[in-house]
């Protein structure tokens, strides 16, 4: 049990660092410089009611493009790594999924898809946005997979949605360079009034495509993992 002893020693050290961090932590009384800038200028610059969405899509839009690229790479690598294990998919008898699951899936999948679309279309107004909405869309796919593990999902459709969304995202960013202040500037469309569904320039458009892209990527990861044959 020497290794257990060293693990506990290490954790005690890390815990001591955490405790000293906790005791040295002084909560802010006012927003710091960066947060203050966002709080003051979000409405004027982007017209979005949700400041987090404005930061993610517009102020730090390039980071989000990188993040979506990381997700795309992950989905591609999962597909690549598992590709060798997917020939001759196992067609053995599966236990029946059960009436509750099948009926519940039939009821819940359309509602879940609707909720996902609602969450990413309203990303600039309410808590939510492309990533959350995309994850909700993918949970509908997960439900379908649970109810029928052998269901065939069209890989072409998933990758088409993903590539088109990614291309539109980059294209809107480039349009921002031509018609507005810079890459991913949302002012290529009118800002509208604060709090309307069609407002905040290109943010709802970009967030919707991010939602579709994230949903397609999560779905492709899950479908790839589920289609893998048990060795």
């Amino acid at each position: 049990m020497v290794s257990r002893f060293f693990v506990l020693l290490l954790l005690t050290g890390v815990g001591a660092i955490f405790v000293s961090l906790m005791f040295g932590y002084v909560p802010d009384n006012a927003l710091n410089l960066t947060a203050r800038y966002y709080a003051e200028n979000t409405v004027r610059d982007t017209g979005a009611a949700n400041i987090v969405a404005a930061i993610v899509v517009t102020f730090r839009g390039l980071d989000t493009l990188g993040e979506v690229t990381v997700l795309f790479l992950t989905a591609a690598i999962v597909g690549l790594v598992l590709a060798g294990s997917q020939q001759g998919r196992l067609r053995r008898e599966q236990p029946a999924p059960g009436e509750l699951l099948v009926t519940g899936t039939r009821l819940l999948v359309p509602l879940t898809l609707l909720l996902g679309v609602y969450v990413f279309v309203n990303g600039h107004l309410t808590p939510g946005g492309g990533f959350q909405g995309g994850a909700i869309l993918a949970s509908a796919v997960l439900m379908l997979l649970l109810a029928d593990p052998l269901r065939e999902f069209s890989h072409q459709l998933i990758s088409a949605i993903e590539s088109i969304s990614g291309l539109v995202f980059v294209a809107i960013g480039l349009l921002g360079m031509v018609y507005a202040g810079g890459f991913l500037d949302n002012r290529i469309l009118p800002l509208g009034t604060l709090g309307d569904l069609i407002s905040a320039g290109a943010i709802p458009v970009i967030y919707s495509f991010i939602g579709l892209k994230v949903g397609a990527e999560f779905s492709s990861m899950m479908v790839n993992l589920s289609e893998t044959e048990e060795p």
């Binding site: 815990g15 107004l125 990533f131």
Partner: protein, 118 residues
């Protein structure tokens, strides 16, 4: 409130590290890593919390003019949004590689993988 969130987050990080270092099963290590990941996110969100303020969303309750005095720091929230998504990607990759390892050796015991050991 922020102290509760931060303490919980730190404890989750410690639990995750402990699980990742002591478990032999690769799947359990992956679960432990996601627990530690959640802890990190919780700590970052906790740092952004400010007493008596509200979420950084402007509506009838928070006018745009007095947003500076009413909202909490939105930057950690945007950061954690990114961190959660990347965490999902990392977990999916770990699961895919764990599957490949299982296919190769028909075991998930980390002690059986001795190729890189010295």
């Amino acid at each position: 409130m922020d102290y509760i969130a931060m303490t919980t987050g730190f404890i989750l990080i410690l639990i995750g590290l402990f699980g990742a270092l002591t478990n032999r099963n690769i799947l359990r290590m992956i679960v432990a890593f996601t627990v530690a990941d959640t802890g990190v996110n919780l700590v970052i969100v906790g740092v952004g919390y400010m007493r008596g303020r509200t979420a950084p969303i402007l509506d009838s309750a928070v006018a745009a003019a007095d947003a500076v005095a009413r909202i909490i720091d939105p930057v950690p929230q945007a950061l954690v949004l990114t961190a959660i998504v990347i965490g999902v990607g990392v977990t999916a990759l770990m699961l895919a590689y764990a599957y490949k390892l299982y296919e190769k050796k028909h075991t998930l015991d980390i002690a059986k993988f001795t190729e890189l050991k010295w």
